[in-house]
């Protein structure tokens, strides 16, 4: 699964907008965005940040400069543990033509020393938007690890997985009025979903998509 292949498959799936959010890194976003441009796909560079509490949070940015500035804030807070490719696999960075540019030596599979209450502000400081990933899942999610939705977290909306029980938001009082979208959380090419959600934005730009997210997906 190379960044260019992901962009191409997104286009084939009929998507107009897609974001690449690797675990604790934006390293493959330059290749993804370049490939997306060639395929006529609107790409948002991003990261799935793993917080101190092991809550996964999607962080999206209007452009590569902002994404890389965010990565610069995150990397020093990942700790100095190195990756062991035998255990966690290789952490390859690629270019738009699937050539390997290098490997990230820091362990990206762990958690950053960044609390979940800090993420919203941190992402905003780089012009981005943050929202918690797959909150219905029983691991690495806001609800599983923190126990509840707290408006003080500052997230404009939540992401749910494809397998989210339809009554989740009725069952839980803390989720009353919380806006949400469904993310594919695709880890393999065949998990990229066909287009099935829509957004109304004034212009097909990353900024317009981020503003739509900031308004809670409306």
């Amino acid at each position: 699964m190379t960044p260019a292949a992901v962009a191409g498959l997104c286009r084939l799936a009929g998507l107009d907008v897609a974001a690449l959010t690797d675990h604790n890194t934006c390293g493959n976003c330059p290749a993804f965005c370049a490939a997306a441009r060639a395929y006529g796909l609107l790409a948002l560079p991003g990261m799935e940040l793993c917080t101190l509490e092991e809550v996964h949070v999607i962080c999206l940015f209007p452009g590569l400069d902002q994404a890389m500035a965010f990565q610069d804030l995150v990397y020093p807070r990942l700790g100095d543990r190195g990756n062991d490719p035998e255990i966690f696999g290789r952490q390859v960075r690629m270019d738009v033509d699937d050539r390997v540019l290098g490997e990230e030596p820091r362990l990206l599979a762990g958690a950053a020393d960044i609390g979940v209450y800090e993420v919203h502000t941190l992402a905003e400081s780089c012009g981005g938007v943050a929202y918690p990933a797959h909150i219905d899942r029983d691991s690495f999610s806001l609800l599983s690890n923190l126990g509840l939705w707290d408006p003080a977290l500052g997230f404009p909306l939540a992401e749910v997985s494809r397998r989210c029980p339809p009554d989740l938001f009725q069952r839980r009082r803390d989720l009353e009025g919380v806006r949400f979208l469904t993310g594919s959380d695709a880890h393999y090419l065949d998990q990229i979903q066909d287009a099935h959600q829509w957004m109304e934005v004034p212009a097909p730009t990353p900024q317009a998509v981020l503003d739509w997210l900031r308004r809670g997906g409306r």
């Binding site: 793993c50 509490e53 092991e54 762990g110």
Partner: protein, 109 residues
């Protein structure tokens, strides 16, 4: 005390026991994987309620003697598969992490 002896004494359920003779020299309790990663030691019995495949990676990385899933937690399919592939001793119990840790501490004394 070996993992097999520990399993017998505490009546642990055995999900995967490829190295029953592995010596247990200590214990660690924790559910935040990144926290456990830097703190559990080789030879520990690691007590956790986490049941996803990342548990196998952390067990391997820390060289834990075994993983004990407490509170009647069962491994998901991916964890079971990885434990089998990577020869990780994976056990389970209905007891809480607290009770299991207390019993383990007594046994290690």
């Amino acid at each position: 005390m070996t993992v097999s002896e520990l399993a017998n004494i505490l009546a642990l359920q055995s999900f995967c026991l490829p190295e029953p003779g592995r010596e247990v020299t200590g214990g660690y309790v924790g559910d935040l994987l990144s926290w456990v990663m830097g703190r559990a030691k080789a030879g520990d019995a690691w007590l956790t309620i986490m049941s996803n495949q990342n548990v196998a990676a952390v067990a391997l990385m820390t060289d834990a003697a075994c993983v004990v899933l407490t509170e009647d937690v069962r491994p998901d399919e991916a964890l079971l598969r990885r434990a089998q592939q990577q020869s990780i001793n994976l056990l389970g119990t209905k007891r809480s992490s607290f009770d299991t840790a207390a019993a383990l501490k007594d046994l290690l004394r």
